[in-house]
Symmetry: C2
Subunit: 246 residues, 2 copies
């Protein structure tokens, strides 16, 4: 009468969800290194060995949590993207970049999990981790790709410097992201902007920025605006100063 899926499987999914929920909680308060299967089992009132009916190992549980974290980030970015005005590309980019930063600061441990070096690198090439990673990166790139479609970006100076090898790499990459419309030079600009964003956040979240920079928010805004404006000169006058209203 109720569900077409058998009860057995429904129960299994329920406890699997509870495992992931509890693991997520432990991750958030103890960090990736502090998450222990025994701890999760203890919090759930289960025997440690019982967890292995649901989870293959601690490592795959961590990559599962990493995939979830990527999904959460991608959602946050998508929300910011959709909420921003579609015609002011610079403002929209800044909104997305700020959403990325806010998510990173609010979920520092998950950020460390997905952008730090612990999760096995192979996961990033396949499976749900790769899929959700692509989804979040795609949001970032859409900021620029839509500006490109509106013919507002001038990447000719970059285009002139591209070697054939780089062209091939960039074309393959844009194909991966289903953005075959974009030229190689524009893809290079996307990469540069992403690089800058990630560099700032990695330094800030991992605590490598000097304490003297007690409030990096404005610096972040400036860098993101400049990075975007480097390729996207038309809106520059309208952009950087007080761009999104925060």
């Amino acid at each position: 009468m109720s569900s077409p899926i058998p009860r057995r499987e429904r129960l299994r999914q329920a406890t699997l969800d509870e495992i992931k929920r509890t693991a997520h909680a432990q991750l958030a308060e103890l960090g990736a290194g502090g998450l222990s299967l025994r701890g999760v089992a203890r919090a759930m009132g289960m025997a440690p060995s019982a967890l292995y009916r649901y989870v293959e190992s601690r490592e795959v549980l961590l990559t599962e949590l990493a995939a979830d974290a990527f999904g959460s980030l991608a959602d946050a970015l998508t929300d910011a993207f959709d909420a921003a005005p579609a015609d002011r590309h610079m403002d929209r980019w800044l909104a997305v970049a700020r959403a990325h930063r806010r998510w990173a600061l609010d979920h520092a441990i998950e950020y460390a999990l997905i952008f730090g070096p612990q999760v096995p690198a192979s996961s990033y090439c396949e499976g749900r981790v790769a899929q959700e990673l692509r989804r979040s990166v795609t949001v970032l790139f859409r900021c620029m790709s839509e500006a490109i479609e509106a013919d507002l970006v001038d990447a000719s100076h970059v285009d002139a410097e591209l070697t054939p090898t780089m062209r091939a790499s960039l074309r393959a990459w844009s194909h991966d992201h289903g953005m075959a419309v974009i030229g190689e030079a524009e893809m290079a600009v996307c990469l540069a902007v992403w690089t800058q964003l990630h560099g700032f956040l990695a330094l800030e979240v991992f605590g490598h920025l000097p304490m003297a920079l007690n409030d990096p928010e404005e610096l972040f805004d400036r860098q993101m605006a400049d990075a975007f404006a480097q390729a996207y000169r038309q809106e520059k006058a309208a952009g950087p100063r007080a761009p999104v209203g925060g």
Copy 2:
């Protein structure tokens, strides 16, 4: 006749060095998570408990190794800086950036150790870790600060956008690095360039760059050249294309 330091202390220093050497080897092949004090003791033919005469805990051993890694990086950067021609600032910057990348790729695990999120963040504010970190960052900044002293950099467009808060932060930071000569806008440019460098390397070393970019070297060079040229326009024509000879 030989050494003024007592023999006792000399022996102690010797085994302490051996501990750090063995730990470094284990770190390099097993990663930071795989390094175990018991393993080090086993490799040295010692009892695990004996290690505690020399090392307070596994964590402080790791931060010690982190400090060493920062020192090694700083040395590599300094070498590249000194070997480059002092009058071609763009080329020198590219040489230093490439040295940074090479060190990161050749010492991926140590790179993960010092720029990943594992080492307790407090270490970066004091002690030898902070000192060696500053030393490496200072080399990067000298590339631009010397160009600034030669009056080759135009950061007026950045300067116009700086808020008082950002000015204060940047001034405090440049004071930390003993570069009080540099203006705040130039410091902001230094930070942007560092951010870009770190973002690219973190993505590449941690395996987050898509495999489609099978040879990111040229892209790296392009990004570094563009980042530097963003502030340093005079030498741009002479710079990016085939800049250092590799």
